[in-house]
């Protein structure tokens, strides 16, 4: 790293704040993956027959697939037989209220700044807490249910709303989609389920908080969000993991369906453990997220702030099927030290008058490698489709990388597609200018970086935006040279 700003380099050394391990009694399967593992997971979850059948089909398909190598990331081969596919904190069979949740678990979430206690929680955010493989608590369920909004763990939804699950599960991300989606379909253990009925505007932000705790455990959660006609929901996702020397795999799937005139806003602040300064440990975050704008005038908006994980591989996408539907992708991805990110989006225009916007901000520091990979496809029938894409990269330090791989495929002569990309660094002149106006070097960097990310941060709900800005500051501390 450069030593041009020694006072800045000295600011380094703020460690990952969520790196603690909790001593929670866990119910785990032995490491390894075979058909019995899949059956055991399904059995533990007391799933109906159709779920097991689907999981097994996914497992057998997965066996025929090879791990993708096209992403601009490098990591040692993952041994899928060394991994634990199911780990759950031991719980009482059914939980009637939060009072029955293991107090140690509640303390974990308190420590993370997420209160599951409804008296103390944020007034307008309902939380589903997922710990290792399973959902441990969901707040505000009853209040939401009174309006017809279903917000519960995926396991609970399988028991209570099997018809919705059977109808929509895998309908956006089929198990054949890719290697990690197939693996997830075979072994996913929990996640969140959301259904917003016709005409309902969900009165509060829905939030899932993911936590990996157990060692050698893969986390495979699956989230399904269905917004019926004229519904609206804003959903937030946060994640942390302990500091461990070995890498852990997180292969999640998120599916969103927006029916006529429905709007779904999905925000992620991803802060999985990124590994240490030498690149040891950290989460492999290999995630498939996709939404389908099935209905006319529907809208799906992804906003992500990716600061954690050793490797991030995700492309939250929108399939714009309904006429006049809208897809959005706003992303800030930070790679510091030895982090690698290959992230972006796919916007598939099928319906008429569909429009999409992509704003991607990549920040590379240390030895970090940051790639934007995106696809904009305008199908022959997508008359009057519009896309605007802007990819900006900010480089801090002379050993990092910023890459842009946009694919643009246009098959309709009424389409307007525009793509722009820029690369810049935090200039010594910019820093000096801010310092001359009285800002400390640290504040100056934060100011410039937040300015760089402004178009994305303003898409986040207020509480998240503040957290995201702070997180960015922590992630980049000491990285300016």
């Amino acid at each position: 790293m450069s030593t041009e700003n020694p006072e800045l380099t000295a600011l380094l050394n703020q460690n990952y704040q969520h790196g603690f391990v909790s001593d929670i009694d866990a119910d785990s399967l032995p490491p390894g993956l075979n058909e019995d593992t899949v059956r055991a997971i399904s059995l533990k979850k007391n799933e109906p027959e159709f779920m097991l059948a689907w999981r097994l089909k996914a497992y057998h398909h997965w066996l025929t697939m090879v791990e993708p190598v096209w992403a601009h990331v490098a990591y040692p081969k993952i041994d899928y037989q060394q991994m634990v596919y199911y780990s759950a904190p031991k719980l009482k069979p059914t939980l009637n209220s939060l009072d029955e949740v293991d107090p140690e678990l509640l303390r974990v979430y308190e420590k993370l700044g997420i209160s599951l206690n409804e008296q103390k929680k944020l007034a307008n955010v309902a939380v589903d807490a997922v710990f290792d493989s399973i959902s441990v608590a969901t707040t505000f369920k009853d209040k939401l249910l009174s309006m017809g909004v279903i917000f519960c763990s995926f396991s609970e939804a399988v028991q209570k709303y099997p018809e919705l699950i059977q109808k929509y599960l895998g309908s956006i991300v089929p198990y054949t989609d890719n290697f990690f989606a197939a693996l997830n379909a075979a072994v996913f253990s929990d996640g969140s389920f959301v259904y917003i009925p016709k005409g309902v505007r969900c009165p509060m932000e829905l939030s899932t908080y993911f936590r990996i705790n157990a060692a050698s455990t893969g986390q495979f959660e699956r989230t399904l969000i269905i917004a019926d006609d004229d519904a609206y929901v804003s959903y937030l996702e946060g994640c942390t993991a302990p500091m461990r020397d070995e890498n852990q795999l997180h292969a999640a799937v998120v599916e969103i369906i927006a029916l006529d005139r429905a709007t779904v806003k999905y925000s992620t602040v991803q802060n999985w453990y990124p590994g240490d300064k030498e690149g040891k440990g950290g989460i492999y975050n290999f995630v498939t997220k996709r939404g389908a704008c099935r209905g006319v005038k529907s809208k799906i908006s992804w906003t992500q702030v990716e600061t954690g994980s050793a490797i991030t591989w995700k492309y939250p996408s929108v399939v714009l099927q309904g006429d006049d539907s809208v897809g959005e992708f706003y992303s800030v991805a930070v790679t510091n030290n030895y982090q690698q990110a290959d992230t972006g989006t796919k916007m598939i225009h099928i319906g008429k008058n569909t429009s999409s916007t992509i704003i991607s901000k990549g920040i590379s520091a240390g030895f970090g490698q940051n790639a934007y990979r995106g696809l904009v496809r305008i199908n022959p029938g997508a008359t009057n489709a519009r896309n605007y894409t802007q990819c900006d990269s900010l480089l801090m330090g002379d050993r990092c990388g910023a890459h842009t791989f946009p694919y643009i495929e246009v098959k309709n002569p009424t389409a307007q597609v525009e793509h722009e990309a820029t690369t810049s660094k935090i200039g010594a002149d910019q820093l000096f200018f801010c310092q001359q106006r009285g800002l400390s070097a640290e504040d100056a960097v934060n100011l410039i970086v937040n300015g760089f990310c402004r178009e994305v941060f303003r898409e986040l709900p207020m509480e998240f935006a503040v957290e995201a800005q702070k997180l960015l500051g922590v992630s980049l501390e000491g990285s300016v040279g």
Partner: protein
């Protein structure tokens, strides 16, 4: 206010300032003139604390050792450099920078943060003085501004921050006569018995509008001649050549 003794500065072993001495008392306006390459801008940069110079000598500012302070501490102590080439900062709005800078200064003085409403009305008042539209407050700092707009934006920052020592680094370069008047009016409105100015310029023209108490000629990194404002007129008339024979 400011005492500079035997100031040397070099870049990559190339000497630029070579023993500069200057004393500035509260309320005074000093013009620094000189040919290109004489070290005028270096003086402003070294006083403001820009990195990349090897500096020796002493500079005392309000009884503090100025050279030992980080750039932001100098700024918080009331030193303001109006840049010759103001920098662009995409995504950071002008009004945000103004507020952050003002609060940094207030914090250093042990004052509470400025009241948002008071601040906004004060800014809106002062932006009129530099003849910029209100929209400029919400645009990114200097991004897409014309040369003249950038310079006026520097003056706006100066008016908000109310510094005690102001260094204008060739603020007149690239300005038409109307913009020059706006800049000069802004500067003159801040002239007071406890505030001092260093006006760095190549041309006498600016000094018709900002009338200096002293004029110094910088050549080869030293002050080679000092006098009153009539010295500037002589330079205008005869150029810098006569100094070589002086």
């Amino acid at each position: 206010m400011l005492t500079i003794k035997d100031l040397h500065a070099s870049v990559d072993n190339k000497a630029i300032l070579q023993g500069l001495n200057l004393t500035i008392k509260p309320g005074e306006v000093h013009a620094i003139m000189g040919p290109n390459g004489s070290g005028k801008s270096t003086l402003g940069n070294v006083l403001a604390g820009r990195e990349g110079y090897e500096v020796s000598g002493s500079v005392t500012y309000h009884n503090q050792d100025l050279l030992s302070l980080a750039p932001e501490l100098r700024a918080q102590a009331g030193l303001f450099l109006a840049f010759q080439y103001p920098i662009e900062i995409p995504g950071v709005s002008n009004v945000y920078l103004l507020k952050a800078a003002l609060n940094a200064k207030r914090k250093a003085q042990g004052l509470p943060e400025v009241d948002a409403m008071d601040f906004l009305s004060s800014v809106k008042e002062k932006i009129k003085a530099v003849d910029l539209d209100q929209d400029f407050l919400y645009r990114s700092v200097n991004e897409g501004f014309s040369g003249g707009e950038k310079k006026r934006n520097e003056i706006l920052q100066m008016l908000i921050l109310e510094p005690s020592l102001i260094i204008l680094d060739e603020t007149d370069s690239g300005l038409d006569i109307d913009a020059l008047k706006v800049v000069a009016d802004g500067v003159n409105s801040l002239r007071s018995p406890d505030r001092s100015f260093i006006v760095i310029t190549h041309y006498q023209r600016l000094l018709d509008y900002i009338v200096p108490d002293f004029v110094h000629v910088l050549a080869n990194g030293k002050i080679v001649a000092s006098g009153g404002k009539e010295l500037a007129l002589k330079l205008e008339d005869q150029g810098y050549g006569w100094l070589d024979n002086a």
